[in-house]
Amino acid sequence: MSTLAVVATTAEVLARPELGEHLLARWELDRLALVRRPDRRADVLAARLLVRLCAARLTGQPVAEVALAQLCEGCGRSGHGRPYLPGRPGVGISLSHADGVVAAAAGPGPVGVDVEPAGRRPPPPAVLRRVLPAAGAASGAEWLRRWVRAEAEYKAGPGEWRPEEWTDAPRAAVAAVASRGPVSVVELGSLGSLDSPGSLGI
């Protein structure tokens, strides 16, 4: 069983007629309402919808029945922190959004995904070296690839990871996913819809 990973633009996700805020839980809508910038609100919404599509494809559930929860391992409270599917402890999910691009992943076990626009401006080098020495020592655009790999590993949780990283040229994005098993990077269009839920059935 492969981990599914998808990168899309926010516009591509929100253009799907079956997707929208109606699929989100009340607590997710409450968090969405706190987002000050409309463009980032759209990014958050798109990422939450995309991860539902991934989970639906992986589990065979209809998208409308995919419920997300989050638990913060730091403070122990719900509503933020690592996302998961209640009642499906064997399935790992992850989502990411940044300036018009979104990514999501679902797999049989812990998973972490991250995406950034390929043209992202580098952070101050001195701070980057302290936060992520491997990225701080990189030249050219390599720092961003190392950044998304590190973010994907962090989101996947403790452990040894060998993140898979790729460039999505049409969307001008760099993404990475960390998981225990093989990864299938798929297109948004292959994820099906409310009427054709997934067939992987785990």
């Binding site: 706190l34 987002v35 980032r40 001195a126 973010e151």
Partner: protein, 74 residues
Amino acid sequence: MEPITAWLREKNPGLDGPIRGDEDLIEARLIDSMDFLEFIDLLEGLSGAEIDLQEVTIDDFRTLDRVQEKFLSA
């Protein structure tokens, strides 16, 4: 606080309304994960002191009030 609010407005052009001292900058998505590095650089420049990244938590950067208390009140 003025340099910080100016930086936040530069990062978020077109932002309507004030940024309250108790507003959650992370939940409001006024700062993303990579912006944090720039934010740290800004705070270190303003305070003149290096931030011990092993000692701080995300909550130390969550609101302007907390930032003032934690990094700029010395």
